[in-house]
């Protein structure tokens, strides 16, 4: 079953709290991504991971960090969350970053920072 799973689906946090968003894939894909989706801005790339412990900043990495210790898991961490980090976060994976293959997306995590 080709699947990207994100947990949790909905999350409410207070400003200043730490946030952990988790993502898993069962396709043994090398590359994984975190995007955030905001109305009028589309999907913006936060981080890309080429494989275990091989991560690279995307276009909007400030305020975020990632961890990938196993190929099938990719975590997004917000240390001391801010209200402007309220968004829908999507994890995605692809076979390889340089194969130009399509992305498989998870269903997203809707994060509200109050």
């Amino acid at each position: 079953d080709m699947k990207v799973t994100q947990m949790p689906r909905y999350l409410i946090k207070r400003m200043g709290e730490n946030v952990l968003l988790e993502c898993g894939q069962d396709m043994s894909h090398e590359t994984m991504y975190w995007y955030r989706q905001d109305p009028g801005l589309g999907l913006q790339l936060i981080y890309i991971s080429y494989d275990v412990d091989s991560n690279s900043e995307g276009d909007i990495p400030k305020g975020y960090r990632v961890s990938r210790k196993k190929r099938e898991h990719f975590s997004l961490i917000l240390d001391s969350a801010k209200t402007n980090q309220t968004s829908v976060y999507f994890c995605a994976s692809s076979l390889s970053a340089f194969s130009n293959e399509r992305l498989f997306f998870g269903h997203g995590t809707k994060l509200s920072v109050l």
């Binding site: 990207v4 991504y33 995007y35 009028g40 801005l41 589309g42 999907l43 913006q44 790339l45 890309i48 690279s56 995307g58 276009d59 999507f90 970053a97 340089f98 130009n100 399509r102 992305l103 997306f105 998870g106 269903h107 997203g108």
Partner: protein, 114 residues
């Protein structure tokens, strides 16, 4: 850097009529891959079309798009819109001179009315 522009935030069309969603881009690289993704309500984005060949028509699920490098465009079209086509559509490109992670446009919401 690369950029993708989708000029219409919302396109409304009557069922059975043709629809066109615009996508233009800016990139300095020659060999790039282009995608259209569709996101139905409360679902994950999924790939609809992919192309990297100039002037070649690509079709899937009744939609078609042709990459025109001369005009930097990759518009999405359908000859007869269906109610089930109502969704959010994203144009995206992958640039191997960068990190090859897809960059997305702002998205166009397509609303098909009876």
């Amino acid at each position: 850097g690369d950029s993708v522009t989708q000029t219409e935030g919302l396109v409304t069309v009557t069922e059975g009529l043709p629809v066109k969603l615009n996508c233009t881009y800016q990139t300095t690289y020659l060999t790039i891959a282009f995608f259209w993704y569709v996101q139905y309500l409360n679902e994950a984005p999924q790939v609809l079309l992919k192309s990297s060949t100039d002037n070649k028509r690509t079709e899937h699920q009744g939609f078609h798009a042709t990459l025109h490098k001369s005009s930097s465009s990759f518009h999405l079209q359908k000859s007869s819109a269906q109610l089930s086509d109502s969704a959010l559509y994203y144009c995206a490109l992958s640039d191997p001179s960068n990190d090859n992670a897809p960059r997305f446009g702002a998205g166009t919401k397509l609303s098909v009315k009876p």
